[in-house]
Subunit: 432 residues, 2 copies
Amino acid sequence: VEQQEDTYLINEFDGMHSADISSVMEGLNAEECKYILELLNPEVGANVISEIDEDTRKNFLELFTPQELAKYMDQTDSDDAADILNEFPVKSKEEVLASMNNHEKVQYIIDLLHYEEDCAGGLMAKELVKANINWNVKQCIDEVRRQGRDVDKLYTVYVVDDYNVLLGRISMKKLLMATDDIKVSDLYEPQIAKVYSYQDEEEVADIMQHYDLEVIPVINVQGRLIGRITIDDVVDVITEQAEKDQQAMSGLSEDVEETDSFWQMAKARLPWLIVGMSGGLLGANFLGGFEAELSRIPAMAFFIPLITATGGNVGIQSSTIVVQTLASGGFQGSVWNRYLRVFIVAILNGLTLASLVYGFNMVFSDNHELAIVVSVALFSVIMIASFMGTITPIILNKFGINPALASGPFITTCNDLIGLGVYFMVAKLMLH
Amino acid sequence: VEQQEDTYLINEFDGMHSADISSVMEGLNAEECKYILELLNPEVGANVISEIDEDTRKNFLELFTPQELAKYMDQTDSDDAADILNEFPVKSKEEVLASMNNHEKVQYIIDLLHYEEDCAGGLMAKELVKANINWNVKQCIDEVRRQGRDVDKLYTVYVVDDYNVLLGRISMKKLLMATDDIKVSDLYEPQIAKVYSYQDEEEVADIMQHYDLEVIPVINVQGRLIGRITIDDVVDVITEQAEKDQQAMSGLSEDVEETDSFWQMAKARLPWLIVGMSGGLLGANFLGGFEAELSRIPAMAFFIPLITATGGNVGIQSSTIVVQTLASGGFQGSVWNRYLRVFIVAILNGLTLASLVYGFNMVFSDNHELAIVVSVALFSVIMIASFMGTITPIILNKFGINPALASGPFITTCNDLIGLGVYFMVAKLMLH
């Protein structure tokens, strides 16, 4: 495809959505990306740049001069432009900003560069349409026509007072259905959801999900309207959070992608593997203390994997249920009621599994004493793992740590050790 | 709060968002919910009913007569109404529909009840505004005024031909900015994303996320416009999918909630626990074949937890990376290249961990032979678990099974068994 067949490619890309063009480009190398981008008109090119995968973007944007980049940034929404420029070293960032023609946008971007990426201020775009509370509908529609050209997704007109303090909103539908001489103050909805610029992006996602909003205004501490966040950015936040939870559950310590270097990939996996391994070595040391018992009854060793695996599985199940309850807005009802429920479910599961194992051992083994020991240990391990799995995410959440870590390797390792401990303690008590 | 203080409560709820009222109601019993709902005006009440948690809803809606419910359903969006009525037995469903006054809505709901809940048809709402391609802007705006009262979130006007075949769309912004005599055919965007009614809800979510859409039209096989899906319903799909993945990873077999009965909760956990336990018993049987070796060198048992835990951790890490790559749109580049990368990362991790363990054993133990056996086994287990963790989700995905299951208990159990096998095979080969 890359034989520089300009006209063919231009025809091909014409009418293609920028999101599809960027998908195509993610499979190509940096020079090819640059070549394609130059075939597109700057507006489409700007969309492609904001939609493309971060790693691909980094690679090919380096090939452009600041002047060329400025041409695209002039056409990009302020929130995307700020995110893209944030990936650059300070010097090129300044050069790009200095070369841009759209001075209003430059001001927007500079404002946005102040905010942390993971707060409402870092998610918001500056482009919005606002109307003064004292206007009538005609003035308001004229303003939409004037400001609206810049605003990509226009759902709503925000109503502010003379000091830019946010008072409410008017939906496009209401505006279209109203006659020209109605006053804004008679038409607007005064009670609307809003977020402060310093609020965490996950809080923003929760609020927008709770109220089913497609856009939310952002205000500063003085209540002044400074931007808006659209749902598509929030969908990305939600997806990212789900990925982070999965990574926490599986013991990946950084955001890894298939395209990272070998060493990065290995490094992301090693920390939790080493934690797990240290647990295994501790376990080995602990078992070392039972060498005499093990050489007398080697069959005791047979059930080690059974005990540790069941403890791990029970712990992960319990913690995942708690994590999901926390994520969907926390608990209703009393805490003690909860613990009682967990306790009863653990007893049900513990009794079921312990009797299954006991039955199995009665049939296939002739060591009745050991069969009892294994079942008692299994029951105890299930009880303890349920309890640990339930309280760990609650405690992590209290300390502001991602509770999904509680379904991860650290807890599995702890459960392994506890399981071993319980098993051999029970054995020691019952076999002597 | 529930001393029936009508006026106090009416004041309190007045101006509260329906999503907040439903949050309050989720903490109350069925009678209290009914009582509150009757204090609200029917429109707010209808919103509350669609936003409230499914379990709470089921409980208190049973207290209403079909006639009372019909009053609320008249005010509810067709997609929510269909979902709610789907929770009812057939007889009450019919009774409610028969008692409704809004006959257009009844028709909508009956249409929607035909679709499976998890396809585009089950997600869509029938309320939308459409304009004929032959109209001008004035006719179009009049139509928005007429149809628009029913449509809650109005972002766009769909353009259809005389046979209701979808041709394109006009954004509300364009409509507001255009003059009355422009023709629809000159204004509309012809190339727009759309979905067929039979497409899976996760496909819909992917498409809307890919193109950053807030609403997407739904067509039937003939290309006729039959509904629209808004982003807020898709956000719920995304959140649900993330929860399902987490549950698959942690071995919960049904959608469990804290509020379910004890037996339901136990039942959701038992299947995978039993799988894990059967694995443990198989492991015990396998180890039984090495009773002689174990009683000769009991220290061999010490490292069982280390080997199985590391194999499990490595497998889960590998599969989670693949699952996330699959979820974010699949792989770029060649398959062999991928396997080579996985292979190299596994070697890096394997060498690191094996040498750490070897170093540890050289310092703390005097059995050099066993130290070598453990390290060789650990290295082999890491290689195999990486490979298994990488291919399992790909295979599951090919067969249309949720690939997140590959990070779940079944695979952990397999890895445990493979780990044990490798460990004792290596031991047998090297210690004789």
